[in-house]
Amino acid sequence: MKYIDEFNDPDLARRLLEEIHATATRPWALMEVCGGQTHSIIRHGIDQLLPEQVELIHGPGCPVCVTPLDVIDKALEIAARPEVIFCSFGDMLRVPGTDRDLFRVKGEGGDVRVVYSPLDALDLARRNPGRQVVFFAIGFETTAPANAMAVHQARRLGLDNFSLLVSHVRVPPAIEAIMTAPECRVQGFLAAGHVCSVMGTAEYPELAERHRVPIVVTGFEPLDILEGIRRAVHQLERGEHRVENAYPRAVREQGNPAALSMLEEVFEVVDRNWRGIGRIPASGWRLSDAFRAYDAEYRFDVTGIRTEEPAVCRAGEVLQGLIKPTECEAFGTACTPRTPLGATMVSTEGACAAYYLYRRMADGPAQRGSRIPREELNSIG
């Protein structure tokens, strides 16, 4: 088996796979929530190493992918203003808005800058008092504490030329939305490890209980993912539905208390639109009233922008695990990383891009539902 030698501990990978093969007696569908996990799964062919009964469904955990089109359009409008220095993480540059992207705005003369951290953007505001510095604050619970700290510092330092365009999203309401969708096939979750590094695991037991679904907190390295799958399958075979932490080296039950208290001070929970999915109740954060003056949507008066997504793009169904990327008619033809129709193709963490980059390179044109024959799987042990 060509993939398994690339694991950092192939022997352990083999043992985990053998146990998964020996345990799974019935068909099970697991969703990995985090885009980093999806990336790792496809890159290492983990889905193809699993027994036929165990299917991985890709979840909505790519922050770039789920940022709604109207927020991208708001970013593009703000970034094009002459007084603005617009700061963003690099992976937002080529996410398509309605008619262009940030890369294009930069080419047209906009002052768009890539920063590694929101504190770099804050520093730019300090050094450019005559300009307005706006930071594109996207991301899940892992990223939100950084952005909370940046705006907290801005207020403390009296920097009134700094603001955030906020599009933060939260994982547990997304799990709730996936489990309550009528077409839901998900029977177990690999929860996003780094989200839980911040948030801890307290939000999950209630979800696991109510939907009778195992939730295993999982890292995103190949062995972490195999271990998460092993534990989830174990629970499913025994009819259990508990929260388990398979990533204890980075996740404590209580999360990070300092980060949690900053989040509580700076943000408040709101309903959010997810690109391709739609509105999910209580699924995001915005700046709380005390920090509203630092909200770029109000400062630049772009709250009214509303836009529609291209009809042909099925990224929403991909993000909800309803179809695989290769089942979209546009996949690899009208939609490629060079000409992306949706964010799942442009973001390196997006499921469509992962399939395009790795599956096509490895196997030629992606085949729907292709799996490694059982005989070949047996030879891995």
Partner: protein, 96 residues
């Protein structure tokens, strides 16, 4: 961007506001905010996301992760030049 990279705390500037430290990511050194791990010490390993240390990590798993990230080119993705990457995509080298 979603990546959280393990690194070793090389030095801490307690007077910086917010408190920062120099972190070594397998050779690449960068400043990170340490406010969310206020009692972290020099020599400890932490996982860092967008310039913020979020949790401690034991040395063995930090080293294993870093080695893997380097093999997979993920460190380049995280710390490399985003403009160059965007331009490369724009110019059509679809598969890196």
């Amino acid at each position: 961007m979603c990546l959280a990279v393990p690194g070793k705390v090389v030095s801490i500037d307690h007077r910086a506001d917010p408190m920062t430290g120099l972190i070594d990511f397998g050779g690449v050194r960068k400043q990170a905010c340490l406010e969310y791990l206020p009692d972290v010490r020099v020599g400890e390993y932490v996982i860092v996301h967008v310039g913020f240390a979020l949790q401690r990590l034991d040395e063995e798993s930090a080293r294993a992760s870093l080695e893997l990230f380097e093999q997979l080119g993920l460190l380049e993705e995280e710390f490399g030049d985003a403009w160059e990457q965007a331009a490369r995509q724009e110019n059509g080298s679809e598969a890196r």
